[in-house]
Symmetry: C2
Subunit: 434 residues, 2 copies
């Protein structure tokens, strides 16, 4: 007879919530790197983060129970960094560097908790805003997205019987492993997991990370998820994100100051971090504009993470810029992380192979690809384009232009002003898949 642990089973009878986010480390590493800088440089800045569902046809409020969503968000607010987590953050080396997080910052983290949230339903969607000190609201981005995405998966699976779930996950595992075997063919491929925010679920992300570790060995360089990095003894991967230039831009008081914002942020960054963390994200207000006015010292940085532009065009543009600055691109690094799947990874890899160092940050199609896996159709399991973006800082609206107008965020007047300041060169409208 099968042995059942009675205490576990009895606990399971009665549980009211199976929490999605159970640790403040269940977030992306770059949030912590950025947070340390924000805490030192901008501790008095107020910033609002807001949920934006670009997949408007998916009516999240019809799929996800409001009470349950509140319960998950409340549970996340009850979390603190545990002693073990803080000791690990303080004692571990990141990107080869000891004490990446300074003792005073660690001490401050010990009292950290996620701030309040503001949740409403409107037109079948959730309006979810986090308002407060930037040092706190920034930390909501990843758990909020992970919670909503996993609640959506759970809703899609709630009426499946055990057997259908068994087939679903067997197929998803087999499917991911086919991808791993394709990636194995590239002896010098360098790839990491960037899939926390869009994951199907925490346990599934963990399995995916284990699969890459097992299948790719040292070619799998780590995960953006800090908790998984700690638990699986992997490198935590990530540098910085759009919120830095967006807030810097929002706080600018003139168009001239606005034009300099993307570079001021990078100056601050290099005061805090060095080496392989010197990765520039060029597309917040358009890559072409960014490179046109970029300071020469930026050419000494390790590399760029082109994001919203088509990867080959963006990579070529950056390589040209390095050459113009007299730098050797084969010594430089491009990190690709937007909408990657195996075909795209292969294409980009072959295109740039030998001409530049490359790394891939694999997100949604790593941790949330169930296409063709569901015996009774995929309804509700297809990933959606859900983001959580900074929308204002100290009362001033925040804007992201991006290289792809479909990914722009902000109010139309401000977008128009930003387009006047940064120009519209080379912006390419591309459907946003994930």
């Amino acid at each position: 007879m099968a042995v059942t642990d009675i205490a576990t089973r009895t606990y399971n009878h009665n549980f009211r919530l199976d929490p999605i986010v159970r640790s403040l480390l269940d977030t992306d590493f770059y949030k912590l790197l950025m947070l340390q800088m924000i805490w030192r440089e901008h501790s008095s800045v107020n910033a609002t983060f807001s949920l934006i569902n670009r997949s408007t046809s998916v009516r999240l409020a019809d799929v996800i129970e409001e009470d349950e969503l509140r319960a998950h968000l409340d549970h996340a607010r009850s979390l603190r960094f545990t002693k073990k987590e803080l000791i690990w953050l303080a004692g571990n080396s990141f990107y080869g560097k000891q004490q990446m997080f300074k003792p005073d910052f660690i001490e401050w983290l010990a009292d950290f908790r996620l701030p309040e949230y503001d949740l409403r339903k409107a037109d079948g969607q959730y309006e979810l805003h986090f308002d407060g000190p930037w040092t706190h609201t920034s930390m909501w981005e990843i758990p909020a997205l992970a919670i909503i995405n996993e609640m959506r998966s759970r809703a899609a699976l709630q009426n499946k019987d055990r057997f259908a779930l068994d087939i679903l996950y067997a197929r998803a595992k087999a499917k991911l492993w086919e991808k791993v075997e394709r990636l194995r063919a590239f002896p010098d491929l360098v790839i990491s997991d960037f899939g926390t925010r869009r994951r199907h679920g925490f346990l599934w992300q963990r399995w995916c990370v284990e699969a890459l570790k097992e299948g790719l060995g040292s070619r799998f360089i780590g995960t953006s998820n800090v908790l998984l990095a700690m638990d699986a003894d992997l490198e935590a991967i990530g540098t910085n994100a759009h919120e830095l230039p967006m807030v810097e831009a929002a706080l600018s008081t003139s168009d001239a100051e606005l034009a300099g914002a993307p570079y001021r942020v990078l100056e601050k960054w290099r005061q805090h971090y060095g080496g392989n963390l010197l990765i520039a994200l060029p597309d917040a207000f358009g890559t072409t504009a960014f490179l046109r006015n970029a300071p020469e010292w930026l050419a000494d940085w390790t590399g760029f993470r082109p994001d919203s532009a088509p990867p080959i065009e963006a990579g070529e543009q950056i390589i040209r810029w390095w050459k113009e600055q007299g730098r050797d691109p084969t010594k430089k690094l491009l990190i690709f992380s937007d909408g990657l799947d195996i075909d795209r990874i292969e294409e980009v890899y072959h295109h740039f192979h030998g001409r530049v160092r490359m790394s891939f940050g694999w997100g949604t199609n790593l941790t949330n690809d169930f296409r063709g896996c569901e015996p009774d159709g995929e309804a509700g399991l297809e990933p959606i384009s859900l983001v959580c973006k900074v929308t204002q800082a100290n009362g001033r609206p925040a804007v992201k232009l991006s290289d792809n107008p479909a990914k722009a965020t902000g109010n139309p007047d401000e977008i128009a002003r930003y387009l006047r300041v940064f120009g519209t060169a080379d912006r390419v409208l591309t459907p946003v898949e994930v």
Copy 2:
């Protein structure tokens, strides 16, 4: 933190044997039907069953530890039918009939245990013989085969890490489900599990049976495995096997008596069983010879189970015979069970659809198909052609000719004599895959 049942884990620390066969019901249903008849008709007959590995390139004694094999066989010998099992055998209806097993037989079963075995190594193979009353040695066939096949699987997997096993079973599940989806396309398909003897392992067979039940609903009519039938509330499926005509033939004292043996067995069978159990297995000494001399009353039986002949040829031959006897084949049943996989099932189904009733007994390729599933190659997981056949009865050699000379068993002189008596018409040498 994950909860571990400490008692279970402590037990697992120390276990010496994870028994493969844990119930005397973990056998094929036809064994019990035949046993009841053997017990009534032939209780004094002595018969030897012997292991025959037709896949001679697989050196079983190099793969399977002798001590461990003995431990599994000894464990099987320690088994008794439990009260629950006997009550179920007595109280359940089989093929729509109550009291298929009579009270005196059930009472006899209560004291049943598997008899001694004789195990030796020779030339990299195991010589494994079961000698004693036919009523006892017959019951070794299925557990012996299941034990050796699962020990071989375990040996192939013993150095795999947990992750490789995870991928292996995920792929195997996905693969089986593809087959289920193909079978679903046939609205009137009738199929059952015949995969006990060649299974990868007990737990895997159980999963396969659950998959067919889930995926095919009532088109999956049951399993030959009595234990799984009981546990999953499925019909137990099966009728009779070659050992009946083989022993009847071996006991014959003249060539004339030998020629009549296949029909004497069926006469006894119809005294014990009726209805859908009236299925004739025509190929023990060649289907052509069998039909040529078959009594007219056999045309009133429910159907035939052509076995070793190519299924379409054998089916056509039997349909011709029914028509010669003035019977309507569309009222008759053909059960196909030899070397089936999806392509073969589809081909046979389409060939005979509308012309005869059909049922498929799916064996090795249901419960032991891991081709393409093992990340590091299939070494040791490919199924082998292992059988356990009656080799003598009351000191007289037993012979099976079969429609396929590759499946013949017995000593050459006796095979030659049988070929003189039954003829050699229409015997087709076909490679034995599984």
